[in-house]
């Protein structure tokens, strides 16, 4: 398991580091909301999911997309705006999708995929499927009314869905406590009849165990939903490839605690050196391949502008 976690975390981290490195060249003509520092949540959750389980995310979904098995080549091509992108260049980094991997969408409007995840879960239940849905969103989405409406309906119908709040404490530059009187997101979920738990500190193992347990209960047919608030931390600026401590809305010190407890470092220590090097080599090769794939992918044809508006 530790090797699995390490590979998944290291891979996402390195992909995003490459994105950040390439960004100044303007080859990526798209905003990028990097997950660097938050990988543990997507990995912990998705490692506990089955291939036919479904996830929905936000504009900050690189980690989720990759953790759930989204195609790396097509993701980078999408950031490059190329024809082989996972949305043919028509989505961009904020709308990653991979139908095969059941990454069913990501939205640039905060909170908007939460009810879609609920609707998908409603369908799964009606269709008597035993797969489940995981809905990912940030602490900012908790400010939106649709969050409560969605939890209320999911609880009312006992749907097979797991809500995953990635609480990195900030909405852009505004701290949670400047937007919510209390630091009690789980209580808000409980008030709607959901069992809810807070998982501190990028605890990938803990997240994995909690989600595995909930998924097990859902597959066994007991009613959902479940709610988890995963405390995590965004190390880069809200959007873009850089650090932003100079802006002054947060301190370097605040970040250091998270850097120290970075699960990637922790896991690295536990891994046999040879295996670690093998994993890292494979990942580096895969990343090189993905970026050159994106480089070589053609631009979409002009005719693509008019396709996919309606069913043709």
């Amino acid at each position: 398991m530790q090797a699995r976690f390490y590979r998944a975390l290291y891979r996402i981290r390195r992909v995003e580091e490459e994105i950040a490195a390439v960004y100044p060249t303007d080859k990526i003509k798209s905003p990028v909301h990097l997950s660097i520092g938050q990988e543990a949540v997507s990995v912990g959750v998705c490692e506990a999911l089955r291939a036919d389980d479904v996830v929905f995310g936000s504009y900050r979904s690189h980690a989720l997309y990759l953790a759930k098995g989204g195609n790396l080549r097509r993701m980078i091509a999408e950031l490059y705006g190329k024809a082989d992108g996972c949305a043919k260049g028509k989505g961009g980094s904020m709308h990653l999708i991979d139908i095969e991997a059941r990454v069913m969408g990501a939205s640039a409007v905060v909170g908007t995929t939460i009810p879609q995840a609920v609707g998908f879960a409603y369908a799964l239940k009606l269709q008597r499927k035993d797969s489940v849905v995981a809905s990912f969103f940030g602490d900012g989405a908790v400010d939106e009314g649709v969050f409560y409406e969605s939890l209320n309906f999911a609880a009312l119908k006992g749907l097979p869905i797991i809500f995953v709040c990635e609480n990195n404490r900030y909405a852009i530059h505004t701290h949670q406590l400047k937007r919510q009187k209390l630091d009690n997101i789980c209580d808000r979920a409980r008030a709607h009849g959901l069992p809810a738990e807070q998982i501190p500190n990028n605890d990938v193992q803990g997240i994995y165990e909690h989600i595995s347990q909930s998924v097990g209960q859902l597959r066994a047919g007991s009613p959902g939903p479940f709610f988890f608030e995963c405390l995590t931390y965004r190390l880069k600026e809200h959007v873009g490839p850089n650090d932003d401590f100079q802006l002054g809305y947060r301190t370097q010190e605040e970040a250091e605690a998270w850097v120290k407890s970075d699960p990637i470092e922790q896991l690295r220590a536990h891994l046999d050196a040879a295996e670690r090097r093998r994993i890292e080599r494979e990942v580096e090769d895969e990343i090189k391949d993905a970026f050159s794939f994106a480089e070589q992918s053609p631009w979409p044809h002009a005719a693509e502008l008019y396709t996919d508006v309606y069913d043709e």
Binding site: G105, V118, V146, D311
Partner: protein
């Protein structure tokens, strides 16, 4: 493009008459029986009033998983419809008033309309959003709006506003089978209309307008409930020797402009009567399209009629002035045809009185 009324499956069975309400109910019933992926939900679809009867009996027939009332959560429930559609269902989401769609705009405009495109054609959102325009009996500011031009403005949505029981059924059957989001616009007064409706399922497909009465002097396009007023206005105009051709666009997006253009090419005069406000409304679009198509081909005079550019007042004395009606339409068309401002206004004919509608709602 033009659809010939008599050549539709109408002929198959013209004897049976249904109300618009029963036509909507039957379309839903038949499609739900045909396709188990069709589900029906919305506030009060399962309550004793059953959305004026349009959902009557469906809960009993298809069960609470496929037919259910919802919390008062228009925003989330629209997202739920989209998500269910992504999973392969075909949700029909019902709203007792179109005004309440303003709570669902984010999901409709930013997600439903855009998902197919922004996901590179890999997903589709086959949802039907039924909503009703209210009128009279003190509906007032927030229960009377016809805001479909918002949805005509945004690529990715389809919009239909059937005016007869026949089209109510045929358009709903199509809308449920359509793989794109369809805004299905009803009108509370039209609900009381009765007309021939074949028992078998049939579709009235997008992009086909219908000439509901042919004429040579002027083209009258009546949208939603205003189609009824236009047909009445035509009778008034007959009495003064003006022969109006009346067109029902039925589908507002995609819009069958060809049928309208062909009519105006013949008449040279166009009056669009909308069941909404004029500014940036359906009437503006239709006038602009016709002008773009016929300019330099033949001279055309146009006129737009719609709600007064104010908020809807509940008091009947003002509400009567707020809406176009057969007399005011006839009067405007008279001027359009004869030229100038003649101040002619027909006397209300009782035999043309609208179906009486009594409140409370």
């Amino acid at each position: 493009m033009r659809r010939n009324f008599t050549q539709t499956s109408m002929t198959s069975d013209t004897k049976r008459e249904l109300s618009y309400i029963d036509a909507v109910r039957e379309a839903t019933d038949q499609e739900m029986a045909r396709d188990s992926s069709v589900i029906l939900f919305g506030l009060d679809v399962d309550d004793p009033k059953a959305i004026q009867g349009t959902t009557r009996g469906l809960l009993e027939k298809f069960g609470p998983e496929r037919v259910f009332g919802t919390p008062l959560s228009e925003d989330a429930m629209t997202g739920v419809a989209i998500g269910a559609a992504l999973a392969g269902l075909r949700p029909v989401h019902v709203h007792i008033r179109m005004d309440f769609l303003m709570l669902a705009m984010n999901q409709l405009i930013n997600i439903a309309a855009k998902s197919r495109y922004m996901y590179g054609g890999q997903v589709q959102v086959p949802i039907v959003v039924r909503s009703m325009i209210g009128k009279s009996w003190g509906q007032g500011a927030q229960h009377s709006q016809g805001l479909y031009s918002f949805f005509m403005h945004v690529p990715g949505l389809k919009v239909v506003a059937p005016t007869t029981p026949y089209d109510a059924k045929g358009c709903l059957v199509h809308a449920i089978r359509d793989n794109d989001p369809v805004m299905y616009v009803e009108h509370r007064i039209l609900h009381f209309q009765r007309g021939p409706v074949p028992e078998t399922a049939y579709t009235v497909t997008p992009g086909k307008a219908r000439i509901t009465a042919s004429g040579t002097d002027v083209t009258l396009v009546g949208i939603s409930y205003m189609q009824v007023e236009c047909l009445r206005a035509r009778r008034y105009l007959e009495s003064v020797g003006i022969d109006a051709e009346v067109i029902d666009p039925i589908w507002l997006s995609p819009l069958d402009i060809d049928t309208i253009v062909e009519s105006v090419r013949k008449t040279g005069r166009l009056c669009v009567v909308d069941n909404g406000w004029v500014a940036c409304g359906a009437s503006a679009e239709i006038v602009a399209l016709v002008i773009e198509r016929l300019q330099q081909i033949r001279p055309v005079v146009v006129r737009r009629l719609g709600f007064a550019p104010v908020t809807c007042p509940p008091t009947p004395i003002l509400e009567n002035l707020y809406y176009p009606n057969a007399s005011t339409i006839a009067s405007a068309v008279y001027d359009l045809v004869r030229g100038g401002d003649n101040g002619w206004m027909p006397k209300e004919r009782l035999d043309l009185q609208e179906i009486q509608f009594r409140g409370p709602f």
